[in-house]
């Protein structure tokens, strides 16, 4: 029975065994306690549950290997008989190699499903990473110039009504840390060109106009909403060996529902840069059990409830 309880917990039982186990669990409180005990016992394994990221181009290389096998008859058919005419043979070999390579390429092309967007995905992901790196570098320069090493934070300099996450970008522009030609843009999420108003213009807009701009100024990235400590709102600071999410891909539209990934990369994951500059493409938005990068520990899209509770908010999210 103990083994079936473990199987029930891991969803490893067949439908009939599962139904039988559910019946036992309904009828026997002792068994429910045992199940809870087992659930707690398995909990440490959760910290390493995320599947390791496959290396770039693995599909390519795998299909090339298979294609080579498919093309093997071409290779054997193309091999010349042993010849003394080394110059002619050498030249033939070069030609044969080219033909084999072309045949393999054709085989690989035939093996690839036409709808596959993997190459596109990799290309867009790396473009997005590049833009986030530029943004981080600007934020880091800002932090280096700030007396307490704080990263730029709209709550520090913008009035409450206009204090949204994406304001980080105009702050960096106007303080000269970011080239005005740079756009916080992920190639996986095409957006129309946008002409940036100044902070002064943004702050003097009517609420409806501002709300429209607020959603655009941060592009398709998400920014730290800071955290609360001793009743005060704070920005994260640069500290060596402290790794807290600072910027990343914007959250999915239904951020509160389930734990879907950002839509910037087709739901496969999101790029995240941490305060120490560490960079990751995370296939899940859960950093650790009960630590969602898009929600605070109280499951709100709002500032963290303490220093270790980092939350990244989309451009138009109020920083509070």
């Amino acid at each position: 029975m103990e083994e079936n309880l473990v199987g029930y917990l891991l969803d490893a039982l067949e439908a009939d065994e599962k139904a039988e186990m559910e019946k036992c669990l309904r009828e026997q409180p002792e068994m429910r306690n045992q199940l809870e005990l087992l659930r707690r016992a398995l909990k440490p394994l959760e910290v390493d549950r995320e599947q390791p990221e496959p290396p770039t181009g693995l599909i390519w290389r795998t299909l090339s290997l298979v294609a080579e096998e498919r093309c093997r008859p071409v290779r054997t058919a193309g091999l010349p008989a042993v010849s003394n005419r080394s110059i002619v043979a050498q030249s033939f070999w070069r030609r044969a190699d080219v033909l084999i390579a072309a045949a393999i390429l054709l085989c690989v092309a035939a093996l690839i499903p036409p709808g596959i967007t993997y190459v596109q995905f990799l290309h867009k992901r790396s473009g997005c990473q590049e833009n986030l790196r530029v943004l981080y570098s600007a934020m880091r320069s800002y932090a280096d110039h700030s007396p307490d090493k704080s990263f730029p934070h709209p709550a520090d300099s913008i009035d409450e009504e206009h204090n949204v996450a994406g304001m980080v970008v105009p702050i960096l522009y106007e303080n000269g840390f970011l080239e005005k030609s740079f756009r916080p843009h992920c190639p996986g999420n095409e957006q129309k060109p946008y002409a940036y108003p100044s902070i002064e213009e943004l702050c003097s807009m009517q609420p409806d106009d501002f709300a429209r701009h607020a959603r655009r100024i941060g592009g398709c990235f998400a920014y730290s909403l800071g955290y609360w400590e001793a009743g005060k709102h704070h920005a994260h600071r640069y500290e060596q060996n402290v790794r807290i999410p600072l910027i990343g891909d914007e959250p999915p539209a239904d951020v509160m529902l389930g734990n879907a990934n950002s839509s910037n990369h087709g739901g496969r994951g999101q790029n995240v840069i941490f305060t120490d500059g560490h960079f990751e493409f995370r296939t899940t938005r859960i950093l650790e059990p009960d630590d969602d990068i898009y929600l605070n520990r109280w499951h709100q899209v709002a500032a963290g409830v303490d220093k270790n509770d980092a939350v990244l908010g989309a451009s138009g999210v109020p920083v509070k």
Partner: protein, 241 residues
């Protein structure tokens, strides 16, 4: 030179073709690359694994690529954990699909593909470990320990006595590394079932098929693995006090 409309499913390429919407005439490779990066509904994505293999056997070659894409993350993840080495996992992943291709004629239509693929992958992984001299054969003592129910202390008894887990003393990357190390330290037969049942989410019946052992043995190996892990974590917690 023919000027073709924007690329669509079924577009055939001929030497010298130029495609609209592209700034420069394509080379052959660029044409292939462009073809991949076009988004359109792909009926293969809605096929089951079994249908994909059927289609591949019937000559629809791209069905094979879809199968590789579908299992890329899952199977690589399994092999990476099993072998504890990224480069080796990549080699074994590639060899798994090469073997699948070579054995395609042995595939019986309708047979579940997932356990078959895992069987090939596991055998390839064992071969790779054997080549490196890292494969552990199951010792008689181990067999006795795993199968004799009376000799293995009940997991629940152990848990009732157990204090706090390692997560109460460690956190973050350090905890992750220690947990991974404790799974890696399991005897190979126990590690296999933990990986397949916990990390890969397979059913007992599928694991039995993959490893070629009875379901009862899968259950007792998993049970024994959990007992070993609990003991390892207990030692870890005591050491960190």
């Amino acid at each position: 030179m023919a000027v073709l409309p924007a690329i669509s499913p079924g577009t055939k390429f001929l030497p010298g073709d130029v495609f609209q919407g592209c700034s420069e005439p394509f080379t052959f490779i660029e044409r292939i690359r462009c073809r991949w990066t076009v988004d359109f509904a792909d009926p293969l994505t809605s096929c089951t694994d079994e249908e994909l293999l059927d289609r591949f056997r019937e000559g629809q070659t791209e069905a094979f690529g879809e199968l590789v894409r579908r299992y890329e993350r899952e199977l690589y993840g399994y092999l990476r954990r099993y072998l504890g080495n990224g480069a080796l996992a990549e080699d074994v992943f590639q060899n798994t699909f090469l073997q699948l291709y070579k054995k395609i004629e042995q595939y019986e239509p309708g047979r579940p593909v997932r356990p078959w693929l895992y069987t090939i992958a596991t055998n390839q992984a064992i071969d790779a470990l054997r080549r490196q001299g890292r494969h552990q054969a199951v010792s008689l003592d181990e067999k006795r320990e795993i199968s004799a129910n009376g000799e293995v202390r009940g997991l629940l008894n152990l848990l009732e006595e157990q204090g706090e887990g390692p997560e109460s003393r460690l956190e973050g990357e350090e905890l992750r590394e220690k947990i991974r190390a404790s799974v890696d330290a399991l005897p190979e037969v126990m590690k296999q079932v933990i990986l397949l049942a916990y990390y890969q989410g397979l059913k007992y019946r599928e694991i039995a098929e993959i490893l070629g052992i009875p379901v009862g043995t899968v259950k007792s190996r998993l049970h024994a693995a959990l007992v070993k892990l609990q003991k390892a974590w207990r030692e870890l917690s005591l050491r960190e006090v």
